[in-house]
Symmetry: C3
Subunit: 118 residues, 3 copies
């Protein structure tokens, strides 16, 4: 079982770049066989999956086992307030939608993931 468990919490679209660099550095430093990385995006960062210029980098990381999550509450709120409406079907296939990002974040910490806010 992978021992180095990292949970990255991205809540702002502008922090994606730092978050992805952090994941890349972590994989490189501890080794892909040891690194277990989950990235939970809520707030404006949840919508980034639909239009970010970082999708290719995310995809490479997903292929290396990094897990990507999007918060449905956030997507609904962004649509309700008129910011942007994202069709969940339009998100990349490597993204898993969770009902509430915050519950995922708490659950993962209970499973031993170290929380980091990039």
């Amino acid at each position: 079982m992978k021992q180095m468990k990292l949970l990255l919490h991205v809540s702002d679209n502008e922090r994606w770049s730092v978050a992805l660099t952090t994941a890349i550095n972590f994989l490189k430093d501890v080794g892909e066989d040891e690194a277990d990385v989950v990235i939970v995006a809520n707030g404006t960062a949840a919508a980034s999956y639909a239009y970010s210029d970082k999708i290719e980098t995310m995809e490479v990381l997903a292929d290396k086992g990094v897990q990507f999550r999007a918060c449905r509450n956030s997507l609904k709120k962004l649509c309700a307030e008129g910011t942007v409406c994202i069709n969940e079907e339009a998100l990349p296939s490597f993204v898993k939608i969770v009902p509430a990002g915050i519950s995922e974040i708490v659950s993962k910490q209970r499973e031993g993931y170290a929380y980091v806010k990039p």
Copy 2:
């Protein structure tokens, strides 16, 4: 005993809105019987208890068991630097003042609360 323990750290007045939405979503998602939420406010967020337009929302959450903390060190600093002087007696009754918010944050994590910076 409630199993899903969440510690929200709010250090900036402008993050209160996100923090409260996060607490609401968490209660809704895991259920009020399972959710144990503590919110520790320091920095400018500690003073928000005295004048924020979010007091009513906080009060509703307090009635559902969410615990609110204010850092005395922060209140003193805000007064000393001339930003705002808050009389502790003037804070809402649902707010508990702690001598040092940072110690409360560390203690709660030791008790098993998952740290989240909204």
Copy 3:
């Protein structure tokens, strides 16, 4: 063994002031004999060790046992992108350089340090 273990993550040069105040408050509140504090700086905060006007405050804290870390990945990135090039030899002697700040942050949490993003 010290029981109150605190890990401060500073990723932005502008957050150093808050981070150091947090460390000072923590030492004062729980007592220097009980407090075990590690500060990991990455991003622009890693370069601050070379030119910040807070060095003296850091030094006082280092003398009280606070451990300071700088992320080498961040220093390399800041140099590569033309922001600032820091010679590691020029950093204060109380700063320990780690290959990847993110791995240090995960390791420390595994050792029981409570993560806080000031």
